[in-house]
């Protein structure tokens, strides 16, 4: 079960490369590794924290106010993350402030809570959240690395237009090679 949740998050149902969710911060922040790492940590904290909170109180949340409750928890944790970033990593905060604040509206997190954390047990949703967070962080870090070093050769790579090009090419490459990879490792096949 835990193995499945991790493989799902990292590969089979990766939020960035398969579900294509949370692309706004992904495209905007990934122009260098440092920013990518900062946003990964903040998003992972909010995703895992809110999943844990919601799944542990899910039986007490009435269906008709579930969305306000979810958003309240996510917004609270996002604000906490913003405060700590502002206090202990101010240089990074100045660079990524806007995109940390809009974690609140990240459909990756709300989607995860609506479909998993509000329905499954605490440990299941915890592992699923860790898997999803790792998948999103991996995508951010890979893009951040590619764009930071590609910029040395092609300056466009660090600009917004370059973000779309790099993401498009990366997805195309991933789709091409994923068939070969799943042939070799059947566990990675999408179900």
């Amino acid at each position: 079960m835990y193995r499945d949740a991790l493989i799902d998050g990292l590969w089979r149902r990766n939020v960035a490369s398969v579900q294509l969710l949370g692309l706004c911060p992904l495209l905007a922040v990934s122009y260098n590794v440092r920013n990518a790492l900062g946003l990964s940590i903040a998003s992972s904290f909010v995703l895992i924290g809110s999943s844990l909170t919601i799944s542990s109180v899910r039986k007490f949340i009435p269906d008709n106010v579930r969305l306000p409750c979810f958003v309240l928890v996510i917004a609270t944790l996002t604000t906490v993350a913003t405060m700590y970033m502002q206090a202990f990593a101010y240089d990074l905060y100045v660079q990524v402030a806007l995109f940390v604040q809009i974690i609140v509206t990240n459909c990756m997190i709300l989607g995860h809570i609506e479909s998993i954390a509000s329905k499954k047990t605490v440990s299941e949703s915890l592992f699923s959240a860790i898997g999803t967070a790792l998948g999103f962080s991996a995508a951010l870090l890979v893009l951040g690395t590619i764009r930071q070093y590609l910029e040395l050769a092609i300056p466009l790579a660090a600009h917004p237009a370059g973000a779309f090009l790099v993401v498009g090419l990366a997805l195309a490459t991933l789709n091409t090679v994923s068939e070969q990879i799943t042939k070799k490792i059947p566990a990675l096949r999408k179900t």
Partner: protein
């Protein structure tokens, strides 16, 4: 009734968490903001020492003006009736549109050009107009002798 109760409890829990985090981080955040404000003044004058500035006849004015995203705090350095330089130390303008406020962009022109020749910038009209108004305010303050370097008889 149950939904109201649940939501209220959740709100109380969230508010307490935020209050705790605020108590823990507030002093660090204020320090960081002050450090940044000082860093933004760099290059405006040689030394941020009041007596030294007065000796050179430089007056610093901090003026508040409403920009696009809220209050902006503009520091204007005036020497012998002309603007020596302008810096915005604190603002909440939209990221990306605030690049006109960096010293090697639009706001740097105050250091080299005549005030009359500097116009607002389209795409950041509200921001740049607010800075221009702030500079006018500062000039008015200077002319009415409200600077810090008032000679004591």
């Amino acid at each position: 009734m149950k939904s109201v109760l649940t939501f209220t409890l959740l709100c109380i829990a969230s508010a307490s968490l935020l209050a705790l985090a605020n108590v823990h981080t507030n002093s660090y955040i204020q320090q960081n903001i002050e450090k940044q404000e000082l860093a933004r003044l760099e290059g405006l004058v040689d030394e941020l020492d009041r007596e030294l500035l007065c000796e050179q006849g430089i007056e610093l004015f901090e003026v508040e003006r409403r920009g696009y995203g809220g209050e902006m705090y503009v520091v204007v350095a005036i020497q012998d009736g002309s603007v020596l330089g302008v810096r915005v130390v604190r603002h909440s303008e939209t990221p990306g549109f605030d690049e006109v406020l960096s010293p090697d962009d639009w706001i740097g022109r105050f250091a080299v050009e005549e005030l009359e020749g500097i116009d607002a910038v389209t795409r950041a009209t509200v921001t740049t107009s607010a800075v221009l108004l702030a500079v006018e305010d500062a000039m008015r303050l200077y002319e009415s002798g409200l600077g810090e370097c008032i000679e004591t008889p």
